[in-house]
Amino acid sequence: MDGITLQHYLFLAALLFSLGVFGVLVRRNALVVFMCVELMLNASNLTFLAFARDAGMDLGHLPALFVIAVAAAEASIGLAIIIAVFRSRGTVNVDDIRTMRL
């Protein structure tokens, strides 16, 4: 454990976050986009926990638990939306869902 410092955790978290952002921005499948969002959330969780551990305070665990709870709720609603979209349009490809343009 000695060789692993706060910076390693932070770099890992940044990498995970960037991967998540990249996936959100470029993937076409709504399900994959959704999973990438989860990745970003977990990257932020990792940051919280790394700082908590580094500072020796348990208080940092609290936001991580919140994020997990919110992510669970989000997952249920998000999946419901994706299913509804698939039912109405027959696709979950985000390029085909352009309702924000008139």
Binding site: V21, L25, V26, V94, D95, R101, L102
Partner: protein, 741 residues
């Protein structure tokens, strides 16, 4: 032999009660204008005509009562300007109209003998002309519009005449200008007539602008006087502790442009008289307060009066602004008679009579007024020689007669100018209405070369027109003779400081003008009424007009004859004990102060000379002019019909025919440069800078930028998220690099 004392008989009514009702004189025609204009279409022709005539008749009755009241000495008011009683006058102050800083103006009305005489002329002749119009306009669709304008004109003219301050006078001044414009362009579907209306309006605006500047300068002068009186010892005549206390109070209460305040100022402002005026302000004192600093009172006063002369020249059609009046004949003929002969155009003369006490303090201004009048009198008369339109001849004749009135004002015989104003109102209205009757009976023919021989076909018109022609020519038992001759006599005997020969020059020009008047008026009469009917006449037989028109003509002709009584010299005992003409004595309370100032300061006086020689000369001139025209147009020209005129007549005749090319000159000097400048402004500034660059440029740039930005709206959430992510990244970098360092 009459004496002024008969006017002092006890009076049955309280003068104050009459003064309290002065506003009704204006309100009646104003209400008539409103009713005719708004409801006239629904009321029907007869009701509208009746209402319009009735309101003016009501004003006439009230005016007559007011004028009767100012005939008694017990009718007086306490002058706000001096605290002294002003006899033979009524004053109604309806309270403050507006105030701004040191300036104030009131709704105040004064009827004294000068404005009273004008009231009778305006409402009396106004009523007759309304009556005449009921027949003259009987086939016109716009009768309700016509009577509304005509009533509004009467109301505005009454405001002008009765106003007790120059600001309210200016309201009437602009109001009559507006009505004149509306009535000249009454048949506005005819482009030429609409243009004539605009020409009159714009020409008048030039004069009105001068008048306005003059008023502002005058107010500044009085305020400077008051401030200097407050500031310095040695300004004895205007300190608010001394005798000028009432004047200073009135300056603040009534405002500087109240006529009584102006009168108080003029009475305390002597020219420099050496030892006698030590320690007081004089006209030669340099102003040390306010924006007029560094100029003397006298110079500013002269500037004020010359600016007012410009205003009067616009309204009263004098050189250089006379060009609108002949074109104003585009309006209905009764309008020409009322507005452009009898009343509105005399406003300038009235203004200078009202302000005679200021005018007399500036000999330079007097000389200008006299010369403008004299030159206009001759100039317009020369143009009238060669005009063939019956109304145009009368229009130039009006300009010329107004020139005579200005001459009278300028040489200091204000009563004669006012007398000529009154007599001219009668005979010129009669001439115009006679011309209207001729047109009415001849299918609107106005070319006198195509009339002729109307004497038998229109006997009433012929008789009244003939009488008025004799009156304007100045044949002895008619009104024009003494009024014109009183002016000429005043010019002949004038001694004006600094202008020793002015009187003689003006007298010479006036005599020549009178000769021309006799000639062209006789020509007009001969070509219209004498001889045979022209071969190319529009209708083979003229018909005489109906009762209302003939009745009005007869009344006016009768007054053209009776008017002689007003000017007959030596009838009543004047203010200085000598025998004077009836109206000279009548107007004396208003005009005496100016004469007193003139003689007290040695600025202006008239030699005492017998007018008999002048009478003989004037009479001879009238006879020569009339006989000359008679011979030329009855014998000489008909005998040479078909032959060309000899060149010594033909060339000047052509010049006069084309009005000495003044319209062309103005067109070249003023209108064309102005149009060119307007074109440049229109094409470069308006169409170029404002339309293309400012308005079009803004819209074009926005459209261009919007076109580029349109590509960024894809509707794809991922694109938007990308932009957000990149933006966030950049923001974080900026914060980390510059803000958190």
């Amino acid at each position: 032999m009459l004496a002024l004392d008969f006017l002092n008989a006890p009076y049955p009514w309280q003068p104050q009660a009459i003064a309290d009702l002065l506003w009704v004189i204006i309100a009646l025609p104003l209400a008539g204008a409103f009713l005719c204009g708004v409801l006239g279409k629904f009321m029907g022709r007869a009701n509208t005509s009746f209402l319009a005539c009735a309101t003016v008749a009501g004003s006439f009755l009230l005016s007559a009562i007011a004028v009767f009241a100012v005939g008694t000495r017990s009718t007086q008011f306490i002058s706000p300007g001096s605290g002294a009683p002003v006899p033979w006058a009524l004053w109604l102050d309806l309270g403050r109209w507006f105030g701004a800083g040191d300036f104030a103006a009131h709704y105040g009305f004064v009827v004294d003998r000068l404005s009273g005489a004008l009231l009778l002329v305006i409402t009396g002749i106004g009523f007759l002309i309304h009556l005449y119009s009921t027949e003259y306009m009987e086939h016109d669709e716009g009768y309700w519009r016509y009577f509304a304008y005509l009533n509004l004109f009467v109301a505005m003219m009454l405001t002008l005449v009765m106003a007790d301050n120059l600001v309210l006078l200016f309201v009437g001044w602009e109001g009559v200008g507006l009505c004149s414009y509306l009535l000249i362009g009454f048949w506005y579907q005819d482009t030429e007539k609409a243009f004539a209306g605009r020409k009159a309006f714009i020409t008048n605006r030039i004069g009105d602008f001068g008048f306005l500047i003059g008023m502002i300068l005058l107010a500044l002068t009085l305020q400077a006087t008051e401030a200097m009186g407050r500031a310095g010892p040695g300004r004895g005549n205007f300190t608010d502790l001394g005798p000028a206390k009432a004047w200073v109070a009135a300056m603040h209460e009534q405002g500087p442009l109240n006529v009584e305040v102006l009168r108080g100022w003029a009475s305390r402002m002597p020219p420099d008289q050496g030892e006698k005026t030590r320690g007081v302000m004089t006209l030669n004192t340099v102003i040390t307060e306010g924006s007029l600093k560094g100029k003397t009172f006298g110079h500013v006063l002269t500037a004020v009066l010359l600016l007012m002369l410009l205003g009067a020249a616009g309204k009263s059609a004098q050189i250089p602004l006379y060009v609108w009046l002949p074109d104003a004949m585009a309006g209905p003929t009764p309008v020409s008679a009322l507005i452009h002969a009898a009343t509105m155009v005399t406003a300038g003369v009235y203004l200078f009579c009202r302000l005679s006490f200021l005018l007399v303090l500036s000999p330079t201004a007097m000389a200008w007024v006299a010369m403008i009048g004299a030159v206009t009198a001759v100039w317009a008369a020369l143009i009238a020689f060669a005009q063939d339109d019956i109304k145009k001849v009368l229009a130039y004749s009006t300009v010329s007669q107004l020139g005579f009135m200005f001459m009278g004002v300028g040489v200091g015989v204000w009563w004669a100018a006012a007398l000529h104003l009154v007599t001219h109102a009668f005979f010129k209205a009669c001439l115009f209405l006679g011309a209207g009757s001729v047109m009415h009976g001849n299918a609107d023919e106005t070319d006198i070369q195509r009339l002729g021989g109307l004497r038998k076909e229109m006997p009433w018109t012929w008789a009244t027109f003939g009488i008025s022609t004799l009156a304007i020519t100045g044949i002895v038992p008619l009104s024009g003779f003494f009024s014109k001759d009183a002016i000429l006599h005043g010019a002949h005997t004038l001694e004006l400081t600094g202008f020793p020969h002015l009187g003689h020059v003006v007298y010479g020009l006036g005599l020549f003008g009178a000769l021309c008047t006799a000639f062209y008026m006789t020509r007009l009469y001969v070509l219209t009424f004498e001889g045979k009917r022209a071969a190319d006449a529009r209708v083979p037989h003229a018909h005489e007009s109906g009762f209302p028109m003939v009745f009005v003509l007869v009344v006016l002709a009768v007054f053209s004859v009776l008017g002689i009584a007003w000017g007959l010299p030596g009838v009543v005992v004047g203010p200085r004990g000598e025998k004077v003409a009836l109206l000279e004595g009548y107007f004396a309370p208003v005009l005496l102060m100016a004469e007193d100032l003139g003689s007290r300061y040695g600025l202006m006086k008239h030699e005492h000379a017998s007018p008999l020689l002048g009478f003989v000369i004037a009479w001879a001139i009238a006879l020569v002019g009339g006989a000359g025209a008679w011979i030329v147009y009855r014998h000489w020209l008909p005998a040479r019909a078909g032959q060309p005129l000899p060149p010594w007549i033909a060339v000047p005749w052509r010049w006069a025919r084309h009005k000495f090319y003044v319209d062309e000159l103005y067109n070249f000097l003023v209108i064309r440069p102005f149009t060119a400048l307007s074109n440049v402004l229109y094409k470069v500034v308006d169409a170029g800078l404002i339309d293309t660059v400012a308005v079009g440029g803004t819209a074009g740039a926005l459209r261009k930028v919007g076109g580029w930005l349109r590509y960024t709206q894809t509707g794809n959430a991922q694109n938007y998220a990308t932009v957000m992510a990149v933006g966030l990244l950049v923001s974080i970098c900026v914060v980390l690099t510059w803000v958190l360092r």
